[in-house]
C-alpha cells in the first residue's frame, strides 16, 4: 500500500491511491503531485519518465539565425564570406569569430548542426519550432512550456510556471489547453511584473469585496457550465491574487542583482531578459522563454551579424557561467533555437542570406546534456546535411525527454483530436550523459 501511495504515477496504483488515501492525505500544497492526481488534473496514464532537467531557459533567435556566421562555420569556403572561424575549448569544435566568449564555454554545450525544418516562412516556422505541429486553421497547438506545466505542474505554486520575455512573443502559447497554461508575457524585463500591486487607494478589504462580487456574479454561470475552460478562467483570478501576495514576487525584480552582473549580461532587453530568466528559474518557474529579434538578415547579413553575434555571445556566455557558478546548470536546460537557417550562398545584390529550412544549427546545454559535443554534419558548402539529421519534432522530443515528459502520452483537443508532446519526434539520446 505504501508503495502504491508513492508510486502514484502509474495507472493501477493511481486508482488504488485514490480509493484509499486521497482523502486522508489532501495536504494539497505540500504534495502537489499527489494532489494533482487526486483532483484528476493530470490525465490518467500520464506517467512521467525519469528526468535530468527540471527547468528550461529557451532562447529564441527570432527571424532565422545564420548558421554559417554563428555555430556552423565553413572556413575556407566561398559561402563563408568574410566571417572567420575560431577554435574553442573543445578540440574539433569551431565557432565564428563573433563568439570569442562562447569559445570558452563550448565544453558545456551540445551543438546540433543538422537541424532541418519543413517550414520556410517566419510565422509557420516559429509555430512549428514551438509546438512540433504545422500550423492549421482549425486548431492551436500548445508550446513546450505549456505541455510541461500541464503534465508536470509548477515547482512553485504561487508563481506562474511559464513565462515569456521579449517584444515579439510569437509561438509560446497554451494552444488548445486551458488558458492558465499560457506564458505570462513580460515586455520589458527591467520593468518587473506590471500591475502586480493594488491600485493606489484600493484597500485590501475593498479588493476582496470586489473579488467576492465577481465570484457571486460568476457562480451561476460556473455551476451551469462546469467545464475545464470555465474553471480555468476563474483559476486565473485565483492565481493572479496569489501571485500579488506572493513573497516570491521579488523574483521579477532585477534590482538586487549587482551592476557588474547586469552589465555582463548585456544592457539590452535580451541580456536583461536572460538575467530575469535565471532569477525566475531560481524561484521555481519551470519554463522561461527569452526572445531576441532581428535575425532575419536578408540585407547586409555581415554587418548585422557583427552586431548581433557579439551581443548573443556576451549574453549567452554570461548566462552559462552564471548558471554554472550557482549550481543551476545541472538541472536547467538552456536551449538556443530559431525557426530555420539562412542560405549558405550569399546573395549578390543585398549581401545577405535568405531563408534556409534545409539545414540550421541549435544549441543545448545543461540539464543532463553532454557538453562539448557536435552533433550532425553539413556538407562543406553548408547546403545539405550529410550526417544525422534532426527534425524539429526530434529536437523538441529531446527537450521533453530531458524533462521526463512521456512522449507517447496523448492529450485530446476539445474537438477530440489526439496530440502528443513532440508529435512523434524521437529524442536524440546520444546527447545525454
Amino acid at each position: 500500500m505504501d508503495k502504491n501511495l508513492l508510486n502514484g504515477l502509474d495507472e493501477v496504483s493511481r486508482r488504488n491511491f485514490l480509493a484509499t488515501s486521497a482523502k486522508s492525505l489532501l495536504g494539497m500544497s505540500a504534495m502537489p503531485l499527489f494532489a494533482r492526481l487526486a483532483s484528476g488534473q493530470t490525465t490518467p496514464g500520464a506517467g512521467l519518465m525519469p528526468a535530468t532537467a527540471r527547468n528550461v531557459i529557451y532562447l529564441y533567435m527570432s527571424g532565422g539565425m545564420s548558421q554559417l556566421d554563428t555555430f556552423d562555420p565553413k572556413p575556407g569556403e566561398e559561402n563563408q564570406g568574410p566571417v572567420k572561424a575560431i577554435p574553442t575549448n573543445v578540440p574539433g569544435v569551431q565557432v565564428s569569430e563573433h563568439f570569442p566568449n562562447m569559445a570558452r564555454h563550448m565544453d558545456k554545450v551540445a551543438v546540433l548542426n543538422s537541424m532541418r525544418t519543413t517550414q520556410g516562412a517566419h510565422a509557420q516556422g516559429k509555430y512549428f519550432m514551438h509546438t512540433s505541429y504545422e500550423m492549421r486553421a482549425t486548431i492551436r497547438h500548445p508550446s513546450l512550456g505549456a505541455w510541461l506545466n500541464r503534465i508536470d505542474g509548477p515547482s512553485n505554486p504561487t508563481l506562474p510556471g511559464h513565462v515569456a520575455i521579449g517584444n515579439e512573443l510569437y509561438g509560446a502559447s497554451s494552444g488548445f489547453l486551458e488558458s492558465n497554461f499560457s506564458p505570462l508575457p513580460i515586455g520589458d524585463p527591467e520593468a518587473g511584473l506590471q500591475n502586480s500591486t493594488l491600485v493606489k487607494g484600493l484597500t485590501e478589504e475593498r479588493f476582496h469585496d470586489r473579488l467576492s462580487r465577481i465570484q457571486k456574479l460568476n457562480a451561476a454561470f460556473v455551476k451551469k457550465y462546469d467545464q475545464k475552460n470555465v474553471r480555468a478562467y476563474s483559476d486565473i483570478y485565483d492565481q493572479a491574487v496569489s501571485l500579488m501576495k506572493s513573497v516570491d514576487l521579488k523574483a521579477f525584480d532585477l534590482k538586487p542583482e549587482s551592476e557588474a552582473l547586469r552589465e555582463a549580461y548585456g544592457k539590452d532587453r535580451f541580456g536583461q531578459g536572460c538575467l530575469l530568466a535565471r532569477r525566475l528559474i531560481e524561484h521555481g518557474v519551470r519554463y522561461v522563454e527569452v526572445v531576441s529579434d532581428g535575425w532575419d538578415t536578408h540585407n547586409q547579413n555581415f554587418d548585422e551579424l557583427a552586431q548581433k553575434g557579439p551581443a548573443l555571445d556576451q549574453t549567452l556566455a554570461t548566462l552559462l557561467a552564471d548558471l554554472s557558478s550557482r549550481g543551476l546548470l545541472e538541472e536547467t536546460l538552456v536551449v538556443v533555437a530559431t525557426e530555420f537557417g539562412r542560405t549558405p550562398r550569399i546573395t549578390q545584390d543585398r549581401v545577405g542570406r535568405d531563408h534556409f529550412p534545409q539545414a540550421f544549427s541549435c544549441l543545448l546545454a545543461g540539464g543532463g546534456i553532454q557538453g562539448g559535443v557536435k552533433y550532425g554534419r553539413t556538407s562543406n558548402t553548408g547546403e545539405e546535411i550529410t550526417k544525422s539529421p534532426v527534425s524539429v519534432p526530434d529536437f523538441n522530443a529531446t527537450i521533453a525527454y530531458a524533462l521526463g515528459l512521456p512522449l507517447d502520452h496523448i492529450l485530446m483537443s476539445p474537438s477530440g483530436r489526439p496530440f502528443t508532446v513532440a508529435h512523434k519526434g524521437r529524442p536524440v539520446k546520444a546527447l545525454f550523459s
Binding site: L5, L6, E11, G27, S155, H283, Q307, A397
Partner: protein
C-alpha cells in the same frame, strides 16, 4: 469492466484491487505458457502496429508505433521510445500490461484500435509478468539491429543517463516510506515528490517562501530521512542545527544549501554522506577550514563555493584528495566588457 463514468469508479476500483489482492496465489497458480497463452494475444492484437516495419501499398515504409516492437523477445525487453514496457514480476510497472487496463475511452489505452482486451486476456498478461515474464524457448524476431537489452527488473535500467542509473540503483531495494511518515514529512512545508517516477526515493524542495523555512521544518523530514535523495534548501533560514538531521540522510545525492546561515561547524556533519554527488554551498560563510570535512565524500562530483570565504589555495587540498571533483569557485566571466570599446557595441535599432 471499466467504464469512464465517475459513479462506477468505485466498482472499477474494487475489481482492480481484487485483481491484486484477492488472488495472492501467484506462486501456486499454474505457470503461464508464453507461446500458447500470451503470444497469441500479442500476435492478434499488437503485431499490426508493433511488429516488423512493413511497406504500405504506396511503397513507403510504415513506421513502428512508438518505436516499440513486440515481435521478438529482444524487442520486448528493449522497450520503445518511452522506455521499457516490461518489468518482470512487476505488472504494475509494466506498461505492456497497464496500458491494456485503462478506461476504454482513455486515449492511451492499448490496443489503440478495436475492442479492449478481455479481462481474461489482461489477466493472462498480468499473471505471466508476475510470474517473471518467462518467454520459454520463444525468441521471435532476432533482428541484428536490436541493441543489447539488459534483463534488469527496473523500468529505468536501460537508461544510459548516469544520474538516473544512480537513483535507480539507490532505490532498488529500498522500502517505500510509510504513509504515516509521509504525512509527518508533509508538515515540513516542503514539496515532496518521487525523485524519479515510481521510485521510493524522494526529492524535497523548499522553493516557495524560503524566508519562512527554519530548522523546525527540516526536523520534520526525519521520518523519511532514509528516503530523501535530493534536498533543496537554498535561501532558507536554516542553520547548522539542520545539518545534524541532514547528516543522517544516508541516500542523499544532491544537497543545495546556497545562501543559508550555515557555517564550517555545520558542514562537518555532512562527512558521512558518501553518496553525495552535488553539494551547493554558494553564498554561505563556509571557509577553507570547513572543506576538510568533505574529503570523505568520495563520490562528490560538483561542489559550489562561489561567494564563500573559500580561496583557491583552500580548494587545492580537497582537489588532491578528490580528483574527480569539479569545484566551482568563481564564475568564468573574465572576459567582461571593460568599456574600452572592445566590449558590446551598441546595437543599431
Amino acid at each position: 469492466m471499466f467504464t469512464p463514468s465517475r459513479t462506477n469508479t468505485s466498482v472499477a476500483l474494487a475489481l482492480m484491487l481484487s485483481a491484486f489482492f484477492v488472488f495472492p496465489d501467484r506462486g501456486r497458480a499454474q505457470k503461464i505458457d508464453f507461446r500458447n497463452q500470451v503470444l497469441p494475444i500479442l500476435k492478434s492484437r499488437c503485431f499490426e502496429c508493433h511488429g516488423a516495419p512493413t511497406k504500405t501499398s504506396a511503397g513507403r515504409k510504415k513506421r513502428v508505433k512508438g518505436g516499440l516492437r513486440l515481435d521478438g523477445k529482444g524487442w520486448i525487453l528493449l522497450g520503445g521510445d518511452g522506455g521499457k514496457v516490461l518489468s518482470p514480476q512487476d505488472a504494475k510497472r509494466s506498461s505492456l500490461y497497464t496500458r491494456t487496463v485503462l478506461d476504454r475511452e482513455d486515449p492511451d489505452i492499448m490496443p489503440a484500435k478495436g475492442k479492449p482486451l478481455s479481462s481474461k486476456e489482461t489477466g493472462l498478461l498480468r499473471q505471466w509478468i508476475e510470474q517473471g515474464a518467462d518467454f520459454g524457448a520463444w525468441k521471435g524476431d532476432t533482428g541484428a539491429e536490436i541493441p543489447k537489452a539488459s534483463s534488469g527488473k527496473n523500468s529505468t535500467k536501460n537508461d544510459s543517463r548516469e544520474l538516473i542509473q544512480l537513483l535507480d540503483k539507490l532505490g532498488a531495494k529500498l522500502p517505500f516510506p510509510e504513509q504515516k511518515a509521509l504525512i509527518g514529512a508533509r508538515d515540513s512545508m516542503g514539496r515532496i515528490v518521487p525523485a524519479i517516477p515510481g521510485s521510493p526515493l524522494l526529492r524535497v524542495d523548499f522553493i516557495s517562501k524560503e524566508n519562512k523555512i527554519q530548522d523546525v521544518n527540516v526536523e520534520k523530514l526525519a521520518s523519511v530521512k532514509g528516503n530523501i535523495t535530493q534536498l533543496g534548501l537554498g535561501r532558507t533560514r536554516i542553520t547548522d542545527e539542520s545539518l545534524k538531521v541532514i547528516g543522517k540522510m544516508s541516500r542523499l545525492t544532491r544537497l543545495d544549501l546556497n545562501n543559508t546561515e550555515i557555517s564550517d561547524a555545520g558542514v562537518a556533519h555532512l562527512s558521512p554522506l558518501t553518496e553525495l554527488r552535488y553539494l551547493n554551498l554558494y553564498g554561505t560563510s563556509v571557509t577553507n577550514q570547513g572543506l576538510s570535512a568533505l574529503s570523505s565524500l568520495s563520490n562528490l562530483r560538483s561542489l559550489y563555493l562561489f561567494e564563500t570565504q573559500v580561496t583557491d589555495e583552500g580548494t587545492k587540498q580537497l582537489q588532491t584528495k578528490l580528483p574527480g571533483l569539479k569545484i566551482h569557485l568563481k564564475p568564468d566571466l573574465s572576459s567582461l566588457p571593460t568599456g574600452d570599446g572592445q566590449g558590446r557595441r551598441r546595437r543599431r535599432r
